[in-house]
Symmetry: none
Subunit: 222 residues, 2 copies
DNA sequence: GTCCTCAGCTTGTCTGAGGAGCTGATTCGG
DNA sequence: CCGAATCAGCTCCTCAGACAAGCTGAGGAC
């Protein structure tokens, strides 16, 4: 029998699977170490290490004398890894969720300083779309989108967008390598229109135009 | 000597401290288990559990026969920290962004199995709203909202929601402690209406009702 | 110089023992 | 009969020792 992973890791995966399946709901006490060891056919210390690993991932919590309890149904995964593994369409739908709502809020909360940033980043983007290399164009495009997010004045949305940026950047570069016309299809006008709607304090229009633009982006990869 | 935490956890914290201080840079091999055990004055199995915990947090990686290696300088639970520090209104706006889009997608993609989950999570929620303790009610409410997210069949949105859950759970419990009438204001009907719109494959209505419900939630805390 | 072998290290696993802490049933006092 | 104190039995926590499995680098064979 070939064993790629240590027994303790395999045991942790098995426990995680059972927790995810609902066999042990949140708050539930797990069977004792000796019981689990017998069930999985491993030693007690192996079970203990598996439990420790899941405790480190904030899925289990052990209290001396009481038992081991489930505190989360799923491991709180590293976001970079989640986005790297996820389908690009799923990522883009996540981005759409964040950015449409941000555009809506920005239309209410944008300051004169935000509008000034829009103007600069749009000008940069137009210049880059014309003749600069792919990575410059991508950065200019992301800079404008980040300006929209910033104008929503919501720290959580901003952090969410920044988490998505590396994954989006890579996807854009890959797309540009395959299709040089791509930059012309999602052109400057759509971005200008989003900025205008936010400037005019029109939440519905800003949301709709953002949705339209990002839906078009998503359509190019599927 | 008073011990608040188990020795293994204390050892894990000490290792994390040394890693963060730069004593062992990324890629560095840690001293052997027996050496570390002697240094910290604990048994070898205790060190092993501490290493396992940090392995679960993606800070260490152990390879049989080779040693234990540092793979990250800091525990990557950044998002928990971000959400903990953020204003609750910002968090709820982030949740609104995720959940309205998820409701829209769910209206197109929901399966019969999803509808079944709606039915029994709604039933649980109604029961819990009636007479069960706060934490049961909160779990039942979250279970329904998670069912909506799941029906969108988008891994990124699901992970995003799960990231938000602990923070939302805490906020709900705090609110309920201050205001026992809260559960009656956001009542069962609003949840049923969302489920109905998704069942009827009406994206716009599902989005609008979700937005209305979550806006009301946000209004209670500001 | 290149490849192979192997001794000596590392982590992985199991077992047995005793300590510390929680929980629920039992018992005692009212 | 009811409430509170008691405690036995369960749980996890820690240690120690033994052996297995796997990697690494030094040294020898070619």
């Amino acid at each position: 029998m070939i064993r790629r992973h240590p027994l303790a890791e395999q045991a942790a995966e098995e426990l995680l699977r059972r927790i995810g399946s609902g066999e042990w709901p949140i708050g539930q006490k797990l069977p004792g170490e000796t019981t689990l060891a017998a069930q999985l056919g491993v030693g007690r210390s192996t079970i203990r290490e598996a439990v420790r690993e899941l405790a480190g991932r904030r899925v289990l919590e052990s209290r001396q004398g009481a038992g081991v309890f489930v505190i989360a149904q799923q491991a709180s995964e590293d976001w970079d890894q989640v986005l790297r593994r996820a389908d690009i369409t799923d990522v883009l739908e996540g981005r759409l969720a964040i950015e449409t709502e941000a555009a809506r809020l920005a239309a209410s909360r944008r300051t004169p300083a935000d509008l000034k940033t829009f103007r600069y980043t749009l000008a940069d983007r137009e210049k880059a779309a014309g003749k600069l290399p792919d990575d410059w164009y991508v950065e200019a495009d992301l800079a404008f989108h980040r300006a929209v997010i910033t104008a929503a004045h919501n720290a959580v949305l901003t952090e969410l967008f920044d988490t998505f940026v590396p994954r989006i950047r890579r996807a854009m570069l890959d797309m540009l390598k395959l299709d040089q016309d791509h930059r012309h299809r999602h052109d400057q006008a759509a971005h200008q229109a989003i900025a205008d709607a936010i400037r005019d304090r029109d939440p519905e229009l800003a949301t709709a135009r953002t949705r339209e633009h990002l839906s078009a982006v998503r359509a190019t990869v599927s």
